[in-house]
């Protein structure tokens, strides 16, 4: 190890120790006495929020809300909207509606059905795969499958018609190579040197 390396490593080690001490110094001591919080200087500059409860993070509630669209016009689901930017007035109300329905003993599907009954089918983030909506789900895949099948069919048919013509030239899977002179082989070697595809 050179002297320069030694000095550099020593400097890095010192910087690392200093950084970890700074980080430790910044770690706050818990203040259990301030659970209520101190008043803000300008409370009007931030949104007022209710205390988050365990139910707000309930995976079942989250899954229900991810199936339902917020009605504020954002195109997001209720869960994403109510946890985004926090300016929406609609998604917190819709969230409470979901919680109320759950409190009333409704299953997830029943909650979703209640929302559809109230707001119409457009409250769903994706249309149910039934009736005309099936066209929405199936048409793209069917179109691609049909096109792929058509290409495949054409290629297989063409391969069959071309096979007898190719047979005299080659009995293998590929066409026979043309006879190459030494000069041509040299040219080809140089071309391959470029590894062109």
């Amino acid at each position: 190890m050179t002297r320069r390396d030694l000095l550099r490593r020593a400097a890095m080690a010192a910087a690392g120790i200093a950084a970890s001490r700074r980080a430790a110094a910044q770690t706050p001591a818990p203040r259990p006495d301030s659970v209520a919080g101190d008043p803000l200087f300008r409370p009007d500059a931030v949104q007022e929020r209710a205390v988050v409860t365990e139910r707000d993070n309930d995976p079942v509630v989250k899954a229900i809300e991810q199936r339902l669209k917020c009605t504020c016009g954002c195109n997001l689901d209720i869960y994403v909207c109510r946890t985004t930017d926090f300016t929406c007035q609609y998604s917190p109300a819709l969230h409470r509606e979901v919680l109320d329905l759950r409190d009333a003993g409704k299953s997830p599907d029943e909650v979703v059905a209640a929302f559809v009954a109230k707001h119409g089918e457009q409250i769903l983030m994706a249309p149910p795969p039934e009736g005309f909506n099936l066209a929405g789900y199936l048409v793209p895949g069917a179109a691609v499958a049909l096109a792929a099948a058509t290409i495949g069919w054409i290629l297989v048919r063409r391969g069959k018609t071309m096979a007898p013509a190719a047979a005299p030239a080659s009995s293998g899977a590929t066409a026979a190579p043309p006879a190459l002179s030494a000069a041509e082989q040299d040219t080809l070697r140089r071309a391959l040197d470029d590894v062109q595809d």
Binding site: G37, V51, T83, T84, D85, G120, M125, P127, P177
Partner: protein
């Protein structure tokens, strides 16, 4: 400045119409003087629109609030960079931006195109002039950026807070550059059809424009994802919003074109398909603009005002009828020079690749329009959101990754069984190793497993291709590995630049699959209080609320909530998320409070913190905390993709002429290949 700006718009309109008229009706092939006039009109239009653009910028920087656009999108205390960017913040300014950039591109196309393709240039000028004239007419009659108010307000309304982000200065221009530059390849395609010069000349003339346009679009879309991620606060980067979808559509068709054009260059096939893809890309770029500006589909991005949507719809229909009509009229001139012979050929793989790309484009378009179709058929409004798009597109996306890996492994014309076996071993093993590794670490999400395993397979293909190329060079020239790699790439920029682009796409897909493991939780904390969140990578993050500080800045009042973060007990630093109340120069609130997200990224996962608000007007704060796996890979993928694209379009490199194509018996299994000289 408004008078000068208006004058320049009219001047640009008349010059564009005159240039187009001369190009289309002046028989430029027989009259070189008229051909010169047509091509030079592009420079005149560009100069006039550049002056008009400078006039608008002058108005913005002078705080001339008597100009309606200036009053609508700026205020006296708006930071300078955002005054500059306010040019494209609204409908009217963005139309002027679009027209100006298109005019500059059109002039550049005239200036830099090789004289070998001079015969195409008058028609290229004609087509670009028509498109520019449309934008200028839209401005003059439906959305004039120089419109004045009857009174002068004390201050402007200011810029929407979500647009006050560094992304604003770069994302919209980049996306516009992508959309706009599609017009140049389209103009070359139309010029080739109009002049009946349908050999591969027009493809060579516009190939780099297509790659440039594709790169701008790729960068613009990714910057949009980045902006959505850092600014909107929902912890994601792609929401399948109609306007996002609209930007993806031309990208998909252009990607398909960049692949299928190789078949035309090498085998003289798919000529009609290629013209169709370029026309479709141009029309889809117009369609995207129509969606954004018409309000026909609900989107958070749209800025529908007045009759602009109607203008776009009429132009879209006209462009569709005229361009496809022209293609139909030249159909017999676009006969293929060769035919597809086998399913086991690179041509077939490219064809299926095109099918997957166009299929995804179709499914995205179908999903975007399905609410309108459903309402028309059933009279019922529906929503087509991410669950729909994910369900339909994930299988197609996986099919595409597989083809990305398969394509380079198959020989042109027809591959032998031996060739297939030799080529596929390493990629397949590579994919299986990735799959086994993921199963061993306990991942059970089927889609993510499939995506990552296919990425492993395709990565194996790319590594194999590079490895064989390097080995061949080392054997031939005795070069060291890095030198061989450098020469390999520099002498075959299209091929190896393309492989690097593939790596970029794979890295994107790795990131997309990571979304399946996102963790979000909400919490309310008093100062000093902590919460723990476990990440998908098994780390335990401890968040301790430090407090909320409030202070004034140039055009806003900031409330910043701070968290001390520890990962597995070790300090991870301090994270801050802000609420910003924007104000005008008189201290009046201008918009609802907006949120600034706190983000800490590394290669594995992002810690994403949003300050939701406070409880009872105190410093007791609510947060949304998200652990987002592999997000950095999206930005990494973009970097790799752009680097690969730049290598591909770097000047120089071989061009395959029609003569050489006809002389080259592609696909013969010559003895040299069997001897392993190069594969």
């Amino acid at each position: 400045v408004t008078l000068l700006g208006q004058f320049c718009l009219w001047l640009a309109l008349f010059t564009a119409l005159w240039g187009a008229g001369v190009a289309f009706f002046g028989r430029p092939a027989e009259r070189p003087d008229l051909a010169r006039i047509a091509t030079r009109s592009s420079y005149g239009v560009a100069a006039a629109l550049a002056v008009a653009a400078l006039c608008l910028w002058k108005g913005l920087f002078a705080h001339d609030f008597n100009i309606e656009y200036v009053a609508q999108y700026t205020s006296r205390n708006l930071p300078t960079s955002y005054i500059f960017a306010a040019f494209w913040a609204g409908q009217k300014g963005s139309l002027l931006f679009w027209a100006t950039i298109l005019a500059l591109f059109a002039a550049a196309a005239q200036a830099v195109t090789s004289r070998r393709h001079a015969a195409l240039l008058p028609h290229v000028a004609g087509v670009t002039n028509v498109v520019i004239a449309f934008f200028v007419i839209t401005m003059l009659f439906a959305a004039n950026p120089f419109e004045r108010l009857l009174f002068t307000p004390d201050d402007g309304r200011g810029l929407n807070p979500q647009l006050q982000n560094p992304g604003m200065t770069i994302h919209p221009p980049m996306l516009y550059l992508g959309y706009i530059s599609i017009t140049i390849p389209f103009a070359f395609a139309m010029a080739a059809l109009l002049s009946r010069k349908l050999d591969t000349g027009w493809i060579h003339a516009m190939r780099k424009w297509t790659i440039l346009s594709w790169l701008f679009l790729s960068a613009g879309i990714t910057l949009g994802m980045w902006w959505a991620y850092v600014e909107l606060g929902w912890g994601g980067y792609w929401a399948w919003d109609p306007v996002e979808n609209a930007s993806l559509l031309p990208w998909l068709t252009m990607t398909a074109f960049l692949h299928s054009v190789m078949i035309q260059e090498k085998r003289g096939m798919l000529k009609r398909w290629n013209v169709g893809l370029i026309v479709a890309s141009f029309l889809l770029s117009l369609f995207g603009t129509f969606i954004t500006r018409s309000g026909i589909i609900a989107s958070v991005h749209s800025f529908a005002q007045g009759y602009v949507g109607t203008f776009f719809l009429v132009f879209l229909v006209l462009a569709c009828v005229l361009s496809f009509g022209l293609l139909y009229s030249r159909w017999p001139l676009l006969e293929p020079e060769a035919r597809l012979e086998s399913m086991a050929s690179r041509e077939a793989a490219f064809l299926f690749n095109n099918l997957a790309l166009v299929g995804i484009a179709f499914s995205v378009l179908w999903g975007t329009l399905f609410p309108i179709i459903s309402e028309a058929v059933r009279g019922t409004k529906i929503t087509v959101g991410p669950p729909f798009f994910n369900r339909v597109n994930i299988p197609l996306g996986l099919f595409l990754i597989a083809l990305t890996g398969i394509g380079p492994l198959i020989a042109w014309r027809k591959a032998s069984t031996q060739n297939l076996r030799r080529q596929f071993i390493i990629p397949v093993v590579s994919g299986l190793v990735v799959l086994a590794g993921l199963l061993l670490v306990g991942i059970r999400d089927g889609w993510a497993l499939a995506a990552w395993a296919l990425c492993g397979f395709t990565a194996g293909t790319v590594v194999q291709e590079f490895g064989r190329g390097v080995r061949a060079r080392r054997r031939m020239h005795g070069e060291p590995v890095w030198s061989a790699l450098g020469h390999l790439v520099s002498r075959n920029r299209r091929r190896y630049g393309g492989y690097i682009v593939h790596v970029g796409i794979l890295v994107y897909f790795v990131a997309f699959a990571g979304l399946a493991f996102k963790v979000t939780t909400e919490v309310t904390l008093s100062p000093g209080e902590s919460t723990e969140v476990r990440s998908p990578f098994g780390h335990t993050y401890t968040f301790t609320h430090l407090g909320v500080s409030q202070y004034a800045q140039q055009n806003r009042f900031v409330s910043a909530a701070a968290l001390d973060v520890r990962r597995d007990g070790k300090s991870f630093g301090r994270m801050t998320s802000e609420k910003r109340q924007h104000r005008d120069s008189f201290g009046r609130n201008t918009f609802e409070p907006s949120t600034e997200v706190g983000i800490r990224s590394d290669l594995r996962e992002d810690v994403y913190v949003v300050y939701a608000g406070s409880v009872g007007g105190t410093d007791r704060a609510s947060y949304a905390i998200t652990i987002n796996p592999l997000v950095m890979w999206v930005w990494l993928g973009a970097g790799i993709l752009v680097a690969g694209g730049l290598i591909t379009m770097w000047p120089g490199g071989p061009v395959i002429s029609a003569r050489r194509r006809s002389e080259t018996p592609a696909g013969y299994e010559a003895p040299l290949i069997g001897a392993g000289a190069a594969e």
